[in-house]
Amino acid sequence: MGFDFLQNKLLFLDGAMGTVLQQRGLTPGGLPELLNLTDPQLLSSIYCEYIDAGSQVVYANTFGANSLKLAKAGHTVDEVISAAISIAKDAAAGRAMVALDIGPLGQLLEPMGSLTFEQAYDLFREIAEAGAKAGADLAVIETMTDLYEAKAALLAVKENTDLPVFVTMSFEQNGRTFTGCTAASMARTLEGLGADAIGLNCSLGPDLLVPILKELCENTRLPVIAKPNAGLPDPVSGHYDMGPEDFAQALLPCLEAGVTIFGGCCGTSPDYIRQLRKVLDGKQPVPRHYDAAAFVCTPVTPCRLDGVRVIGERVNPTGKKRFQQALLENDLDYILDVAVQQEDAGADILDVNVGFPGVDEVAMLPRVVKKIQSAVSLPLQLDSSNPAALEAGLRVYNGKAAVNSVNGEPEVLERILPIVKKYGASVVGLTLDKGGIPQTAEGRVAIARRILDAALSYGIPKEDLWIDCLTLTVSAQQEQAVETLKAVYTVRHELGLQTVLGVSNISFGLPNRILLTQNFLIQAMYAGLTLPIINPNQKEMMDAVSAFRVLSGEDMQCQDYVARFAGDSSPTASVKQDNLTLDDAIIRGLKADAARLAGIALQTEDELALVEGHLIPALDRVGEGYEQGKVFLPQLLSAAQAAQAVFEVIRTSIAEKGGTPVKKGAMVIATVQGDIHDIGKNIVKTVLENYGYDVLDLGRDVVPEAIVKAVRERKIRLVGLSALMTTTLPAMEETIKQLQQLPTPPVIVVGGAVVTPEYASTMGADYYAKDARQAVDVARKVLG
């Protein structure tokens, strides 16, 4: 069944199921999906009432029919969904279409919760397959507040069925979902992934949804759905405050905004649908304006490309020994830190490249994407030539990403463009092919045109193609700088495409590289470069971008420029604190100074002496102050992080020399199964790492078996376990029991809010640590 007619006609959905069932006696806590097995008559009568009132689509009673919820009731997804669809189809008897209704799973996905994207996908796949088998006419994914969960559900429906699929999410009055997703990010992401219609349901009445619906309509070419609540519920009576007539009238501004698919959510009933048909019947869809801008995003950060946007280049192992070491050691915290620094320096998009000999890119790229997205809100550009790695990365990416890159070779285009299309990404096209890089601007533009034709043939819209005209080193091929600039001009102004350049290549092999790179950057932006790939930590580059945005008129009233430079007294700001020692810098938590002084100290001392002679004594002094109540937790942690900065200097120094890292022995740390509060564990980890211990952090909500496995495989001698709530203490006890059954059991230290010394010894732990400081004492006793 197709929905082509949706473009020029209105479509009417049904109203609430849940609140109607409650009106007919279902208690709020019960599982309404079980009614499919126990009271088909009741459901059938509700469907019939909706169809009689004018619904053209009824949602089958399958909103919460997932195996997480049904397992507790002892029923299978297949059983419940096939019953539900069959009841709805019998009631509809061809008068209306029947939708498989897919609601949220009821558990939060990573990084907030512990359900992985892959687990969510599998749960949705089971639902989608059951719905298709039972004969649903379409699938509706609704009431989503997490774009990541909506993506998992949409992929599961699209990859396992042929059903058309609608996706609606719930927004708050501030224009965002609970997880912070904007309407623009939702629209761009879901359209890219191939939804057939998108919109809003639940949360608010129609009047309050209008501004959000407008934003949605500007950001998608798809039909837009409004299925609002009957206003807001009264906290005393529980009644929604909008009657059928007011509700229907309030939908008219939604029609004006561009909505073509209408229905109701909580608090509505067949009467509302009848009124809604009365008011909307005979009305025509209102012409819409789509904003065809280039766009990438994460849920919380929409990035519309309407000026110069900086792509940070630092997440890349090329020529960086420390980064290579981090990749080989699986040290994702280091990689995250590189990403965070670029966000703080003002990058708009981050390039992510993890290709290095000895690294399995297909496994590593999705892991790094998840890690970065757990703490950085910028859109990412996945940088690889390996199609399997790109697909794995795009699959778990939350939002609309970019891919770097394809080129003019037909085989490359054939391999990569279908993946770009499937996941709705943007893509960078390099102007080279089998014949190499053309030496003239015209030659490069010709390749750009070929890539554009190929992209369009795969259904990738023009705005999603970004062209890289390639920077060549000016000291080797001096005449090429001008050719690159000419090509950028033509691609931007004649082809109308976004343009990318890796800028810093220009200055290899010459002195004062920064000056040359900055000049080339400015000229390229003037020629039409919109997406410079640069190191945002280089102040000169970001200064040039900031100044350019003023001169191009993009930075309205020079606001960003003023914010960047007002009060800047940089020539005098760097007053040298000559009498500041390394130990003082650590104790006072002065990260940058500590790193600088460590660099100086390394000129006269070796790495080990630095650790033993400065770092640890300084941390000890802070630790003693903490024990005596003179230093408080934030200061203890700031000192630990200054120590971390020193460690980073030491690690880089060792990596450059190719030596082995300074590490004092390894331990495993984890928050036990069922416990999702992990800041306490993270605090302990920060402090231990800065005493030089190699801390293998297994994360939170960790099953005992995973801890046992890590201990066995890595021959770990010390394990730290944390639990915050009384409900998770049994999991701690079980973990200890399993660890002690190992042939050589590790030493176990436990901590966390509810753990007491007495309980620790009852459970069989070797040590109790009340805080990070005591954990260090234990580590010293056990690991030295």
């Binding site: 507040t145 529980g238 757990s374 934030p634 203890l636 069922g674 993270n682 753990v755």
Partner: protein, 218 residues
């Protein structure tokens, strides 16, 4: 809504903080309140006392706890309240942990205090809504002998997943972590203050939750 600075410092175990640290904490708190405001929802439910058995029929809850019986002795209605800083706080805290653990610890304490401020605001709204009626102090599952196992019933009665984006794990923990559920009695007679926050709690000196910058939600 704004968190109380002294309360934040108490959560950090840093009542004796230097002026420098106080300013730092105040700055983090300002940044938090600028970015995130607590959201809450509540439902007013009839309270039933039958044969010495106290229950909230609307939520299918039977209250066996002595604390609940003591708190609600003179009440005919009980308000179920949920308040949260939402997922945005979790994101902010994760990002801060990746940047600076010291600031993250401060932010964590600010979050605890801000969600309390949200509960206070909800109480103010309730007082205005029911003139002539009196509210008991609020108390939460996990306090005294009021069991955490009440959480699923409270959460589903308030429909917190849909209304506030609060999820409950199998171990009855709420995500986002800065979320509170509470009971507040409604009575025709003035109610004495029995509990209110860590400052008035008998466990204040020994509570490890309190020492770690966290709190139990009352």
């Amino acid at each position: 809504m704004k968190a109380d600075l002294n309360e934040i410092l108490r959560y950090l175990g840093a009542e004796q903080a230097s002026e420098e640290l106080r300013l730092k904490v105040a700055a983090v708190s300002d940044r938090l309140t600028e970015a995130i405001q607590p959201r809450f929802t509540y439902k007013v439910c009839p309270l039933l006392l039958e044969n010495g058995q106290l229950s909230i029929p609307m939520a299918e809850i039977t209250l066996k706890s002595r604390t609940a019986k003591r708190m609600l002795a003179q009440c005919d209605q009980v308000i179920l309240l949920a308040c949260t800083l939402g997922a945005a706080f979790e994101t902010m805290l994760r990002a801060e942990q990746a940047r600076d653990m010291g600031n993250a610890a401060i932010l964590n304490a600010c979050g605890s205090a801000l969600v309390e401020a949200g509960c206070d605001a909800a109480e103010q709204e309730l007082k205005a809504r029911f003139p002539g009626r009196f509210l008991t102090d609020r108390f939460s599952p996990g306090y005294g002998d009021l069991p955490l196992s009440l959480q699923p019933a409270i959460c589903s009665t308030l429909d917190v997943q849909r209304r506030l984006g609060i999820y409950l794990t199998d171990s009855c923990l709420m995500i986002p972590s800065k979320s509170v559920t509470a009971l507040i009695g409604l009575s025709d007679t003035p109610q004495m203050a029995r509990i209110r926050g860590c400052a008035y709690c008998s466990m204040q000196k020994t509570c490890t939750l309190h020492k770690g910058g966290k709190h139990c939600g009352i």
